[in-house]
Symmetry: C2
Subunit: 224 residues, 2 copies
Amino acid sequence: MNKQDQNKPIPKATAKRIPLYFRYLRTLQESGVIRIKSKEFSQMIQVPSATIRRDFSHFGELGRSGYGYDVPYLIEVFSEILSTQVEKRIALVGVGNLGKALLKNNFRRNENLTIMCAFDSDPEVIGTCINCVEIKNIHDFSEVAKKEGITAVITTVPSKHAQQAIDTIVASGITAILNFAPDRVKVPEHVNIQYIDLTTELQTLIYFDEHVSQVNKLGLAKKA
Amino acid sequence: MNKQDQNKPIPKATAKRIPLYFRYLRTLQESGVIRIKSKEFSQMIQVPSATIRRDFSHFGELGRSGYGYDVPYLIEVFSEILSTQVEKRIALVGVGNLGKALLKNNFRRNENLTIMCAFDSDPEVIGTCINCVEIKNIHDFSEVAKKEGITAVITTVPSKHAQQAIDTIVASGITAILNFAPDRVKVPEHVNIQYIDLTTELQTLIYFDEHVSQVNKLGLAKKA
DNA sequence: CATTGTGAACGGATTCACAGCC
DNA sequence: GGCTGTGAATCCGTTCACAATG
């Protein structure tokens, strides 16, 4: 039905921008905006207009020449791409400071992502509830995850025990993992694992700030 | 002294891997490993050996043919690149669930990153302490940030107030910002802003899992 | 002899620039 | 006229493969 079903695979870089597109399109709709041009959208989300057009083109001819794009229609398309009709049921493994914070937030707005269940190995926290989610024993992961129909897992387990926790998760058949521990873990080829590491992000940011864009800082007034 | 000071700029992609390299080199050193070959290192950090050699080469001829790399020397070099001798003083703006969690963790080990001060606009939390850090009023940001010698700022302010908070931060002369709110904010050209958005990360991960690597899942047994 | 450092080939993503279309 | 969709050019990073080197 859509292009990505038929033939060409969506470029990775494009795929990464889809959630951004989707969120802003919804914001536009809430503001009553009914049509948008790639140039306008570009300013809003700070992605070059050519990139936006190229990205959109992968999903068919979504726009109209001399007019722009129809916002409700785009939302329909991207909603299907992200399959936002289907609730994505998430499990959280590791209920420390960060895990607790994620549980309390339990996802902004209605992106249809929900943390259904949480796990830890610490008897102190097992059995307690946070934001109406009961913390279960990691040993019961597989059973509970199956019952709850879990799609993806977030892990906030400290590096030392991350591999062990992730082995358990992988053994249960889960193939999508978002890992907040910085150390690389071994997973089978078919498992998708994504790392988020605050320390690394900060160090990289500071490195850029000190080295890469030093030039701009000295010659402050450019065309800004 | 080093190559990056003299002439060629370090590729962005390389720069992003530096913190990863550094962390693993330290792990090696702690285990008493004194030399490492690019192939071995590759297996450990899951980055191709050719990429590692290429990356390293940007900082000079760090290795020896037929031998490998000297771990202590590499650490010395990368330590200087990341200037880890100098303590990086961080400010946190927005002390909600996530902000609190970050304050409680206040950075793993001795990467020489420290959250020195935290800010919010909620009178309920202003004046309270978390992990020995007193929460200050955002109105005093500029003054405090200068006094504390802040290098970079982490913001966990909700989207609605993110722009305003970041304007305050930018006005104080800060040029490195790590923003957990997903909406794009306007900043002057010389300011480096990095976004971390959990929802986007998860959606992208699930999208890949469902679409991009579908093929692998069906033909499970490859050469693994 | 084993491994680095690197030219050269490759491939993916971005950007340009414009033909085609509304 | 104004904007999309897209060939073509370009940029950037990765990978290959091997000459140089201790």
